[in-house]
């Protein structure tokens, strides 16, 4: 299987719990943020994004919170399911640039 999860922070939760995955970003000039999910052996999959003029955005079972004061991003997953087990990456885009900078990822393990 994939070894991308080696040395990653890991969050272990029970099925049905709510999960919160945190990310500290580096650049105060970043204006766009994305969360990706990567399952073993697959490419990253878009989950949700948020612009810097917002502090909260909700999707289906997921919520992203942005705190620009402390440069912190979080992903909340409601009623976590075993299928949510994956590595989650946050990414930021600096204003005026066309590239993303990715965090190192957090592994989420969901037990039945």
């Amino acid at each position: 299987g994939e070894s991308v999860g080696l040395h990653l922070p890991t969050l272990s939760v029970q099925e049905g719990d709510n999960s919160i995955i945190n990310c500290a970003y580096s650049n105060s000039a970043s204006d766009y943020f994305i969360w990706y999910k990567q399952e073993s052996g697959k490419g990253p999959q878009f989950i949700i994004d948020i612009r810097s003029n917002m502090d909260k955005r909700q999707g289906q079972r997921v919520t992203v919170l942005l705190n620009k004061t402390v440069k912190h991003l979080s992903l909340q997953i409601a009623a976590t399911q075993p299928g949510d087990s994956a590595v989650y990456f946050c990414a930021e885009r600096r204003q005026g640039y066309s590239t993303l900078t990715f965090g190192k990822g957090t592994m989420l393990l969901v037990s039945p």
Partner: protein
């Protein structure tokens, strides 16, 4: 609509050999990217392109070259492979929408250099 596809899926090379990784997207996206992913390192940008005929260096460009001769294709070349280039390579594409740029990824190419 296949999205982003990558070929090959897996390859083994000997040190010094060359190869080309192909990325194709059918979403008419302007932007395309090549990343490498190593354990504990996240995704690091190798090269990218903001349009047909244009390329630019990313964070870790050394040892790689790219070409974007057609809008839908982005090629990544290794002229003389080294063991340090053993990695999983991901291609992504994006269509800039206002100030947003959601990148969509391919399934990856696993490269082992002996």
């Amino acid at each position: 609509n296949a999205g982003v596809t990558q070929t090959p899926k897996f390859r083994v090379l000997k040190t010094g050999q060359s190869m080309t990784l192909l990325c194709a997207q059918d979403m008419n996206h302007e932007y395309m990217y090549w990343y490498r992913q190593d354990p504990g390192m996240g995704l690091r940008l190798i090269h990218y392109s903001v349009g047909e005929g244009t390329t630019a260096k990313g964070e870790v460009p050394d040892g790689y070259n790219v070409s974007r001769l057609k809008k839908q294709n982005f090629l990544l070349g290794l002229e003389s492979a080294a063991p340090s280039q053993t990695s999983v390579y991901f291609c992504a594409s994006a269509r800039l929408q206002g100030s947003q740029e959601t990148q969509y990824f391919g399934p990856g190419t696993r490269l082992l250099v002996l």
